[in-house]
Assembly symmetry: C2
Homo-oligomer: 462 residues x 2
């Protein structure tokens, strides 16, 4: 429990109405998308970097754990207060401070919702590519903390590739600036990219300078039904091998299709064992040419049906197929273990066949979909935890899945981060010495280990 | 001086023929492109990460400064052994280990010359965009250390944007791996991007995993002559404002044109006060359209002449104009002070007019050219240091130039780094607290301060 005088200090900083200690308020802020729950001692809403700084100073001087929270939509427990303490909510710091059409940058506060920024810049003919599935409710601060990805990252890269500069409150409460407003900057170490993806363990971001692109002239969306998953996996590899980089290359496997068959706006017959949603964007002439080339390349791979959107509505209908996936998975079983492994693109067929083998070996339904274009597969092990011994079974299959991804020169996380969910597996991918250097950075930035403690690393001792 | 038994240990690691202690050999390895010179105690050529590791262990246990060196083409003294010690030459680690056309990556040793990799990947229809002016002799290890840029970075980004993973020997001699071979990876802190641009002060890179792109189908090069520098500067701003991102947007000012007028393959009359070299690349249809739009946009800005290359030879002729610049500058005065400031693109007109004002105020010729598309201006103050009091005058004008760039929300270095040349000015751009965190990283990675000591930061004490 946090002492009363500290609660009073917090109230002095942000005002009475922005500090919550009631059980109901604490519970509301105890969850994230992992559906795990840890109670914070106190919930504080901040409105400025200066407030954040004052709050962090209190936390630091009393060694109270503190973690920043946006929408709580993370999949690895990044915003779970596993050691209690202060949950610092930044959703009220939600101003778009500037959209600079001359220099193609935007400056935002961390609480801005991703799709809101996208809408605003698109009105001006600009484009912010990263598009996590939660973009309609997740915040840019959270995107920075986890280095969010999304379907468009195949062509456009991840959040990190769009962050030019940050304003950050450090563990000691200092407000520092990193990077700047220019595309090039080699002035000392790149702290900006270090903070991106550090899951709130090194500092609390209070302002973000983002790079924007000109909005592509047009896009073309295609939904292709395959007779086999192997055909779809080969299509991904062949498209990349042909040196075409589509905007998105999403795939759904047979189990995923089974989940959405009844509600899909595009009919998906029983024979359809895999779906690819392919989108290309750019100048009108080019996307027509690219779409035609893609069709040529994948033609021999066992295609049942192809739908090419010719209007925005038709394109939305195709994307609706994809959007139906996540909410439908629980038809299979009530409990979902969702991981986002990555393998080099060409190894997708091998990884998919490994996953099929594991599903059979353990007798567990594994539903796979995701961003095949960059090798990022969302693996969903669907189980009923009420069954005796199920958690142990899930742990075993997960470990095998991660091992297989790493063995294929892949990664255990493409865009969700480590948080608490993958902490036990960090050492599988990153050797001890390298983890040691990460820990040294953590100690150097946060010697009292107050910033989002209990994440990424198994213990905080270097 | 390094003890004889240490020299013997070094010989035991790499062989007698790879350790040099003669004065002539030490002098050969005492320079870089800054033309400053500091004698190393010993020069060692390494052939593998394991050798590098053994050598670094010796340096660390005896607190001997050690720095890695490629071609020594850096502009800020990154490879100058300012505290003596070991210069570790990596030019013999120059193998391209793999070009993976399925996954669009390459794996190389640090001694590979940049343009050699470019040629090899282009043979396979692929593309490695970063193109520092020294690309025909600089090495990829050096590019990683300094986060090299180049003309194409306007559209394609800098070296950092293409580095997916590294193998690094740390100050303690550990060999660690960072990142991986996939585009997405959020597994712990991003040490990869931290090492890129750290100027050899955090570790010695022994292997680099690079991202490649499909090679653009075609390109179109244009040379546009302007009546005024202001017209050219406005052209840059207007092109970006129109949401066109060309591959390159290079500019030469009147003083630069004066230097090359006699030897330029494209005639440049006296009335021509500024030149823009604009290149667009991509699909054939698109570049024709983009080139036409660019011409429309810049037409009202006082154009004397436009040359559009229609063959590779004609394109090369245009680029030859740009290549003649650097070697010609000393016509103005024997001593060159070359800086690479950056400003937000739209502020180029303001920065250029500031530079003209400073040239007049101090009575010093300032020759400006560079990558206008990303606001990166190569400012060359041309003087004769034999004149009494000239160095002090140069110091003053440099300080004013850096101040102006920072005041315009720019940066004191876009692609050359800090090294020793800009050490005194680091604090002008980066606040003390932020520098403090950079120093903490340095201490955490290199507690004995053996790795390229005396660079970036004014003193090594945090």
């Amino acid at each position: 429990m946090i002492e009363k005088k500290i609660i009073k200090s917090l109230r002095d900083i942000v005002g009475k109405d922005s500090v919550y200690t009631e059980n109901s308020d604490r519970i509301t802020h105890s969850y994230d998308a992992t559906q795990k729950s840890y109670l914070p001692d106190v919930v504080v809403y901040a409105k400025s970097a200066e407030q954040v700084s004052e709050i962090v100073k209190i936390a630091n001087s009393h060694s109270i754990p503190i973690l920043a929270r946006g929408a709580g939509s993370g999949f690895t427990g990044g915003t779970l207060p596993v050691q209690g303490g202060i949950v610092l909510v930044l959703t009220q710091m939600n101003r778009i401070l500037c959209i600079d059409t001359d220099n193609l940058i935007a400056v935002v506060e961390p609480g801005v919702v991703t799709s809101e920024l996208q809408r605003e810049v698109e009105k001006l003919g600009l484009f912010y590519p990263p598009d996590p599935a939660s973009k309609d409710f997740c915040t840019l601060g959270g995107n920075v903390a986890e280095c969010a990805g999304g379907p468009r990252c195949v062509k456009y890269g991840v959040t990190k590739d769009y962050i030019l500069g940050l304003r950050v409150v450090t563990a000691s409460g200092e407000i520092i600036r990193t990077g700047g407003r220019t595309l090039k900057n080699v002035v000392g170490y790149d702290l900006t990219k270090l903070f991106v993806g550090s899951e709130g363990t090194l500092g609390i971001v209070t302002e973000i300078v983002l790079k924007l692109l000109p909005k592509p002239e047009a896009k073309k969306t295609m939904l292709v039904q395959f007779e086999t998953i192997d055909g779809a996996a080969r299509a991904v590899a062949d498209i990349v091998r042909a040196k075409i980089v589509p905007t998105t290359l999403e795939f759904l496997d047979a189990a995923t299709i089974g989940c959405i068959r009844d509600i899909s706006p595009v009919p998906l017959p029983d024979e359809c064992k895999a779906v690819l949603i392919i989108e290309v964007d750019g100048d009108r002439e080019v996307i027509e040419k690219q779409a035609a080339r893609i069709m040529d390349i994948i033609q021999p791979l066992g295609i049942l049906d192809t739908r090419i959107a010719s209007t925005t509505e038709e394109s939305e209908e195709i994307w609706d197929v994809r959007r139906k996936v996540s909410p439908s998975l629980r038809k299979v079983n009530p409990d979902k273990f969702n991981e986002d492994i990555v393998v080099p693109r060409s190894k997708i067929p091998e990884m998919i066949s490994t996953l099929e083998g594991l599903s059979e070996k353990y007798g567990l339904p594994i539903v796979n979909f995701g961003h095949a274009g960059d090798g990022n597969i969302h693996v969903n092990v669907m189980v009923d935890l009420a069954e005796v011994g199920m958690q142990e079974k899930v742990d075993k299959v997960m470990e095998e899945i991660f091992h297989s991804a790493v063995a294929l020169e892949g990664s255990i996380s493409g865009e969700h981060g480590i948080g608490i969910s993958k902490m036990d597996y960090l050492g599988m991918e990153v050797d001890n010495a390298t983890v040691g250097y990460m820990r040294r950075i953590k100690s150097a930035f946060d010697p009292n280990n107050i910033l989002n403690p209990g994440k990424i690393f198994q213990s905080t001792e270097p």
